[in-house]
């Protein structure tokens, strides 16, 4: 029996033949696949190797492939909360990443994940190192900075998926303001948030307050005057409060009486513009903050 007639060679030839046919088929279908793939890919949340590895680790890969990404992300989020209760920060971080990679559509995961990383983890770490009274201020600051930057990375990733959602800009501003006590950077993000279409009215007010806190009274005065002119006269816009602040600034800046801001008296709208949904606090937010 020659080598060419050996059963193994014959089998190998058959395998190579099938592979060759399939490769040719792949080339043949490229003109169909290419344009269709570009359209399909642009409209679906990206799934990367990291997510597959994570899902594999959780034994969920079949479910993920099967299209249950949303529900699996929900269940994994419940599990993330159990891990959060145990204060296992390494696992929690991995779970937040997995959940947001599996289903990047709900803002809820991004926002609450970043809150856990920026607010809760620094507390755990400081306690692990001996508590607030033992750990030097510089070290506490370093931990806060490190954790906040991790949260910022997560929120930056969220902004790639939802570039026009005010909530995400606000969250960055809140972390700068509440955790890092960095008014200048917080102001930048509140301003960004106020420019989004779904921005709550308070974002612009907080921006002006932060300008005042930094001593930029003239800038705050100009901003508030413009804001007062632009806002509709509806209860949620709180134009009364804005006018009060304008008057306070006029006193501080000693603006002459004849140059002071003249507010136009408008009737309160009967059917006000619907307040953005998150002017009302969410019932299941991880760390609710009042404004």
């Amino acid at each position: 029996m020659s080598l060419l007639q050996h059963p193994l060679t014959l089998r190998l030839r058959r395998i190579l033949f099938v592979l060759l046919i399939l490769s040719l088929l792949g080339l043949l279908t490229r003109p169909l696949e290419g344009p269709a793939w570009r359209v399909v890919k642009s409209g679906q949340p990206e799934m990367n190797l990291e997510a597959i590895e994570g899902a594999l680790g959780q034994g969920l890969v079949v479910g993920v492939l099967g299209g249950f990404r949303a529900i699996l992300a929900d269940f994994l989020w419940i599990r993330t909360n159990t891990i959060w209760e145990r204060r296992d920060r390494v696992k929690m971080d991995a779970m937040v990443r997995l959940v947001t990679t599996l289903d990047p559509r709900p803002e809820f995961f991004w926002i609450n994940g970043s809150r856990m990383i920026a607010y809760d983890v620094p507390n755990w770490r400081i306690r692990e190192e001996g508590g607030y009274s033992e750990v030097p201020e510089a070290r506490q600051r370093a931990i806060d900075l490190e954790q906040s930057h991790q949260a910022f990375d997560l929120l930056d990733e969220a902004l790639e998926f939802h570039p026009d959602r005010a909530k995400l800009y606000l969250e960055k501003g809140q972390i700068y303001l509440n955790r890092l006590k960095d008014d200048a950077n917080a102001a930048k993000w509140f301003l960004q948030a106020s420019k989004q279409a779904d921005a709550p009215y308070y974002a612009a007010r907080i921006y002006a307050e932060l300008l005042r806190k930094q001593g930029k009274n003239a800038e705050a005065y100009t901003y508030l005057k413009d804001l007062h002119r632009e806002l509709p006269n509806v209860p949620y816009a709180q134009k009364g409060i804005i006018l009060e602040r304008i008057r306070e600034l006029e006193n501080t800046l000693e603006i002459p009486f004849w140059e002071r801001f003249q507010a136009v008296v408008e009737p309160v709208l009967e059917a006000p513009r619907k307040a953005p949904a998150f002017d009302v606090p969410e019932p299941h937010d991880h760390a609710g903050h009042s404004h």
Partner: protein
Amino acid sequence: MSILDSFTRIRLIAGTTFLEAVRQKFFNSLLIISIALVGSSTFFQQFDFGTGELKFITDFGFGALFFFGSILSITATTQLFFYEMENRTALTMLAKPVYKLEFLAGKFLGAHLLMLSFTFVITLVLSAILYWRDTALVARLGDEVILDGPLVRYGDVFLFGFLQWMKFGILAAMTLFVASFSNTNLYTIIVSFFLLIICQLQYIARDAYSGMEAGWERFLVLGLGLIFPNFQLFNIGDQLVFDVDQALPLSTVLQLVGYGVIYTVAFLLLAQVNFRRREI
């Protein structure tokens, strides 16, 4: 023997295969489980953290369709093929003037008809649930919102079902191809599931390695992308059903259908190449 006779034989084999398949307990159990799961999507909605109710139900229904559809497509095709082999009925059939290609095509069409019934029932149940929740939602909102059109595009639910059915076609043909050289039921099912996972995930490998400089890994991944069909193409649920900015263009739908048909026919012909040599 004319082509017309050939079609008649294929139709007869497909009809018998379909009837056999519908009577299978496995199909009926899976269908009931799928309907129950899609029906219970409103219950699972309480675990949801941010998607809208209708969107969640749709995702859940589409997920159930793909998940159970894939299982059914692989197992039913395998069982229907090996049933004939193990009971020696294939021998009787092929002793008559029936070509092996006609036998394979008949088996495939029978299994594919089964998948059509499954897909239709699931999409129908999903549409009914969506309609129920849609009506309830609109009634609850009352005059609070002014709608430009319906909340749900029901035609898209069926379009998604149809495209999934095309994908099940490739999967069934691929399973028949594996069965054509395999000796056991279990081997065929396991290999087919692995193929499903590769086809579903090959695009990730392609994306990950597309930026690589020329090397053997790059060629390996390129080869992988050429050899295995891209099942992720049919994962278009996010672009359908709701009023999204970029609805799926008709040209894309046609390209997907063409892609599905070409791969289905190719795998059936490859199965025939193996099956022709096989001793029954």
